[in-house]
Subunit: 340 residues, 2 copies
Amino acid sequence: MIIDCHGHYTTAPPALEQWRKRQIAGLADRSVAPRVSDLKIGDDELRASIADHQLRKMDERGIDRTIFSPRASFMAHHVGDFATSSAWAGICNELCYRVTKLFPDRFVGAAMLPQSPGVDPATCIAELERCVESYGFVAINLNPDPSGGHWNAPPLTDRFWYPIYEKMVEHRIPAMIHVSTSCNPSFHTTGAHYLNADTTAFMQCLTSDLFQDFPALKFVIPHGGGAVPYHWGRFRGLAQELKKPPLKRHLLNNIFFDTCVYHQPGIDLLAKVIPVHNILFASEMIGAVRGIDPETGHAFDDTKRYIDASPSLTSDDRRNIYEGNARRVYPRLDAALAAR
Amino acid sequence: MIIDCHGHYTTAPPALEQWRKRQIAGLADRSVAPRVSDLKIGDDELRASIADHQLRKMDERGIDRTIFSPRASFMAHHVGDFATSSAWAGICNELCYRVTKLFPDRFVGAAMLPQSPGVDPATCIAELERCVESYGFVAINLNPDPSGGHWNAPPLTDRFWYPIYEKMVEHRIPAMIHVSTSCNPSFHTTGAHYLNADTTAFMQCLTSDLFQDFPALKFVIPHGGGAVPYHWGRFRGLAQELKKPPLKRHLLNNIFFDTCVYHQPGIDLLAKVIPVHNILFASEMIGAVRGIDPETGHAFDDTKRYIDASPSLTSDDRRNIYEGNARRVYPRLDAALAAR
């Protein structure tokens, strides 16, 4: 079985974006604010938005299941306040849930949280539990920078975030550490902010003892871990200077990297440097980079090709990257698969 | 000849740091502010601080010359105002100049600029020209985030920075794009902020047409280009989506990557993905990662070993990485070497 642990609903029907625009307009003028019930998207529309896009590509590429969450760049936690994020997360999560019900053999949900800058993350727990308990979601996306590029939240290792971690451990769900749209003109969203956040999150964990407080906590760092595997020697050396244990013992029981690296040499490096046990297959397809690579004739985000071609991997390694590791990191996914 | 294009004076005599501490104390209480003339460091002290450290390692590793600039993390442009940065840059640059006079066959200078958050970069031109004209410096370090991790300056592609670029082109000096200490608790200075800045700067250039305005402008992106080479497919794909020319034509006449990547697989990826023409040897020795790699028994920052061992490089490639490319990117260095 091939499990893609990083899919977003980037192809939702246009009514969703229209509702969001009205919600944002409503922040300035309450009279135009929409109700949640104003959004009407039928099952046929939902089905078509998936069947013609994610599902078609999954079939073409041989991907069996995708862990599916709301579009990352649309989370935009910097917009409005907690009530804004709460209504928006509720809508986006429900749509993903409906996709998982329409295609129960192919999609399993991961939740967007209603984060808001400066707001206690404990306010997200109701939505988190609703998604896990009512929707059967198996993970969350956690945004380390709800400000959208101003980076004024406490580091992920601060007790500020502990209420979320307690619930993650209780419900046995990992978090993908994923920022959203940058509203800082310094940072291009998908070309800088996403990768920077991956590197930043890893280094925050490296300097801390977070996983001593939460030995069962699991973070998936997307986009191949940002700059981390390429600079693995730097990080090993920094850990040594900071008198931390070797990275394998210090972080690799808790941190996993996905394979959203869009060329063969990048995947080859990832597979060589990071223990196979810590690599989870993912493509983030129909995401940041949707084109065809003129050097290969294949889609940049068709990451399965790179893994299949990576010379340092055995067939056992590939089984772990494609399935085994995900079933271990996402125990609720494993349970759902076993139950089917 | 082997030229290390990325060295900082990290081993300056302690009197320098003591002066800086007094300068910072003087921001709150003018009565304790030091004068520039209060700093007294003799030639013997300077000589020892180099001979026992950088120079010894250069000899051990077979490095002939280092492009030498003030300590990056000490620049701390976020401290005080323009007058603060101006006095501090003047002192730091003069010390580097004295090092180049004491060891004229081994060190050539690169200038720290007296940047300050929110201040017009044109204010840096006097120091830039002093360093080039009086000190024979061959490059500058340009900090894209003088705030130290708040990223509130305009992107490098904004006309805000053009006065610096005009002077760089006029004097035929490249800039290493190098941030300083992070005062944002989200970002570890050498483990996150430095690498993020490298990625950010590259992506700023990618989204712009800066090098159409300045075809002769040259940027060196340190630390192996941050996350860029590892994600080269992502950047090629983003350029394609943004309707930019292929990266080689769009950016690689103007952007160069150093080799401060502290393990063999990272250097192997860099050498495979980035054209050899765009790779400059560097180690940033006695910098962020000073320890011995227990996996190899050699210093993490002994990057020459990785380049010597990298299987995709020919001896011609190595000559270019070690010498030829630096002489082309730093024409004033080339002229100085030819004159000796």
